[in-house]
């Protein structure tokens, strides 16, 4: 019974700091590993680093000790020392040496706590701030590039772009050839739609002739089967909708092909 109490005493009172530091460390680690949101991961990272700071500060704690600034009785620059210096000045001795730091005797140092862990933690805090700032900048970049900071959505998007990027040049060339053959075949099957789209697109996109041309060919590729006689007034938006929302519909090859035509440009931008 008594021993149980001793254990509780030791855990809750004497080593409470260390218990808290371990708990914080684990909370931080858990958040970093299992949270989906990148910002939550960063919060976990901050908790993780703070736990280590708590650990270092805890090991520097000393009972009945003060901050490591000379106490009056040890102080070479304080009032006591000044009096001594004045005395010395009167007797005409060198005063410079008196202002040098004083080595304390071991029993005198008992009254001060160890400054080193705190100093180390100042550095660690600076490093932590730099890491956090960099990580937030990365999050911003990811948000701008992929439109999300949720890891699962991000992974899907990254996988898709990776598959496109790491495609074999042979397969790319094959795709290109298939695209070309389809381009030559297309006007026969859907002459009407091309014409109509071209007509409707021109007034909308007439600012830039090359742009219009591209839009026409794109809508030409992605639309021919579904809306053969479509007189859609917004060919651009409709085609992009098809691309974005239904990647696995029968129109997938068409979408791929349209991506291929844009691929060289995109890669340059990346």
């Amino acid at each position: 019974m008594f021993e149980d109490g001793a254990i509780i005493n030791e855990l809750l009172i004497e080593r409470l700091n260390y218990i808290i530091y371990v708990v914080l460390l684990l909370i931080g680690l858990h958040a970093m590993i299992s949270k989906q949101n990148l910002i939550k991961k960063l919060i976990g990272m901050s908790i993780f680093q703070t736990a280590i700071i708590l650990f270092y500060v805890s090991i520097a704690v000393k009972d009945n000790a003060t901050i490591p600034i000379y106490k009056t009785e040890h102080d070479p620059h304080g009032d006591a020392a000044k009096a001594a210096v004045l005395d010395l000045n009167r007797s005409g001795e060198e005063t410079k040496a008196f202002y040098a730091p004083v080595m304390l005797k071991p029993e005198e140092t008992q009254q001060y706590s160890n400054p080193l862990p705190h100093v180390l933690m100042l550095t660690a805090i600076v490093v932590g701030v730099a890491t956090l700032g960099l990580a937030l900048a990365l999050c911003l970049r990811i948000q701008q590039g992929y439109g999300t900071v949720e890891e699962d959505e991000l992974l899907v998007k990254i996988e898709r772009s990776d598959a496109r990027y790491s495609q074999s040049p042979l397969a790319k060339a094959k795709n290109r050839r298939r695209t070309q053959s389809r381009n030559t075949r297309k006007p026969r099957t859907s002459v009407k739609s091309t014409k109509s789209i071209g007509k409707s697109a021109k007034p909308l996109e007439s600012r830039d002739s090359t742009k219009t041309k591209k839009t026409t060919s794109k809508s030409n590729l992605s639309q021919p089967k579904k809306k053969p006689a479509s007189t859609s007034r917004k060919p651009r938006s409709s085609s992009s909708k098809v691309e974005g929302s239904k990647p696995t519909t029968p129109k997938a090859p068409a979408k791929k092909a349209s991506e291929k035509t844009r691929a060289p440009k995109k890669k340059g931008a990346e």
């Binding site: 993780f48 280590i52 090991i59 080595m103 990365l138 772009s161 074999s168 040049p169």
Partner: protein, 518 residues
């Protein structure tokens, strides 16, 4: 110059500040400044190595600010110590930095346009951090320099594409966990020994008999785990392949040869100089299970490298496998294993550099690093491909290159220590590397289609245009560093005995077993 050891760090540091300031005035100033400061740092590094060889204790010591008191002969402040190992690794770091900085001009202009004033300072700071890791004699200062190297590394990778930014985020999370665990371990060491000086810690452990202290055991586990995460040892390697393969060319050329190797140097430093051989191998169980983890690591990494279809990804997994080699060389606890491990740090840095430089040129010329894009490349750029082959042969371990000799010592170590599993797995991974590189060599040399029919010059049905197969060597500013790296690989191979002599001099005081360690 007496304080050449400090100048190794100061030259790149001053250079990076100068780049950042003058880069704002004119971006074109950055490249010459970075090359100049790297030349100066290389000179300082060579000077330090000669000083270390010449001095009777085989080490150079420099205490910053001259903070020495009679009570603390090891210094109150931060000490930089270059023993033979540290000086060698620093020379490798700075030398690789010099070659990459020469190479950087065109890739940086192309891949990160109008960001030179941001890129070169980070680049130089990265070298500052890595060289500092190799030279510092203070356990906490090591943490700071690890973070300097890591933070600049994140920046260097993420400055590229969005994909690189996403990969960097993972790297950042894992890297922070690793560095923080190291920091925690240093805290435990400090509680028990009351000093942060590496040699000081070693002395306290030896004089106070801290071999069985649970605090030191915990510290050892935390520091070891942190370093293993930072060096991308197999189960913790997840950050490496994506980060290195999506980084800008120059970044992967700089980081891939150095970061993991420098962390292995830190592990050797911890095992030998900080905790001591006796503590590391006899008071902990690590030498029992680490060789088996190494076996798993090498097999998995080699098989994953085999599954890749892109050179950059493949090389990234090769790095993970090579990390396994070096960690294994340490933990088989044998004299020859240590020689092999240290020599492999040097040779692996050179050959990985060689391969990544060549890959950068391939990427520039072919716009792809996919295996299929390499067909008929030898007729287009023979010199680049020779550089690539030298690196590849060194990774495989063919005799005139340095990779052969380091692998020779590693295998000897495995044999003498009767760690048969380690020996077998080295042979196994060598076989896999043979497959990897000869698969590439076949594609590069021969222009045949998938069905096997000869296509003459290689264009036509392959989807290669005529311009992809006409002779067009890489620009000289990229080709010369590559050939330099390739010749260094050969020269270290030919003069391997000189390097090994220095390593043996370094290892002599540690009394490592030359037979079985247990």
């Amino acid at each position: 110059m007496d304080n050449a050891i400090a100048w190794i760090l100061l030259f790149p540091l001053i250079g990076s500040i100068a780049c950042a300031l003058l880069g704002m005035v004119n971006r074109k100033l950055c490249y010459p400044i970075s090359v100049l400061s790297m030349v100066a740092a290389t000179w300082a590094s060579v000077e330090t190595l000669f000083q270390a060889v010449a001095s009777p204790t085989a080490e150079v010591s420099y205490i910053f600010g001259g903070w020495v008191l009679d009570l603390f002969p090891r210094g109150v402040g931060i000490e930089f110590r270059a023993d033979l190992l540290g000086a060698l690794i620093a020379l490798v770091v700075v030398g690789v930095g010099l070659i990459v900085s020469m190479y950087a001009k065109l890739p940086v202009e192309k891949e990160t346009p109008r960001k030179e004033a941001l890129y070169y300072p980070l680049f130089l700071l990265q070298i500052t951090g890595l060289a500092g890791i190799a030279l510092t004699g203070d356990a906490f200062n090591l943490y700071v320099l690890i973070e300097v190297a890591a933070l600049t590394g994140y920046g260097l990778i993420a400055i590229g594409s969005n994909r690189a930014a996403a990969a960097t985020f993972n790297y950042l999370i894992l890297g922070t966990i690793g560095a923080s665990l190291y920091l925690l371990g240093v805290g435990y060491v400090y509680i028990k020994t009351g000093t942060l000086n590496m040699v000081g810690i070693q002395e306290v452990i030896a004089t106070n008999g801290l071999h069985d202290s649970p605090t030191m055991q915990v510290a050892f586990v935390l520091i070891g785990l942190g370093i293993l995460i930072k060096m991308a040892f197999f189960p913790f390697h997840a950050w490496l392949p994506n980060a290195y393969s999506s980084a800008p060319t120059t970044t992967s050329c700089l980081l891939a040869p150095l970061v993991t190797k420098v962390m292995i140097y830190v592990m050797i430093r911890m095992v030998l100089t900080v905790f001591g051989v006796e503590f590391s191998f006899e008071s902990t169980l690590w030498s029992e299970f680490m060789p088996w983890l190494v076996v798993i690591a090498i097999v998995c990494a080699a098989v994953m490298a085999l599954a890749q279809r892109e050179i950059k990804k493949m090389l990234a997994y090769l790095i993970v496998a090579e990390v396994g080699y070096m960690v294994g060389g340490v933990w088989i606890y044998n004299y020859y294993g240590f020689i092999g491990s240290i020599f492999h740090i040097i040779s692996d840095a050179c050959m990985t550099l060689c391969l990544f430089l060549a890959t950068g040129i391939i990427l520039r010329a072919c716009k792809t690093t996919h295996f299929d894009g390499l067909r008929g490349l030898f007729s287009k750029m023979p010199l680049t491909m020779i550089g690539f082959f030298v690196g590849g042969f060194s990774i495989i371990g063919l005799p005139p290159t340095c990779g052969f000799f380091s692998k020779w010592y590693l295998i000897t170590g495995g044999m003498v220590a009767e760690r048969w599993e380690y020996m077998v797995v080295l042979m196994f991974s060598t076989m896999i590397m043979v497959v990897l590189f000869f698969r590439l060599i076949e594609r590069i040399h021969l222009a045949v289609s998938e069905s096997g029919e000869d296509l003459g010059k290689g264009h036509g049905d392959l989807g290669l245009t005529k311009e992809q197969t006409t002779f067009e060597e890489a620009p000289l500013s990229m080709l010369i560093p590559l050939l330099l790296a390739a010749s260094i690989v050969m020269i270290i191979g030919i003069y391997n005995q000189e390097v090994v002599d220095q390593i043996e001099l370094f290892l002599a005081p540690f009394n490592l077993p030359k037979g079985t360690g247990h």
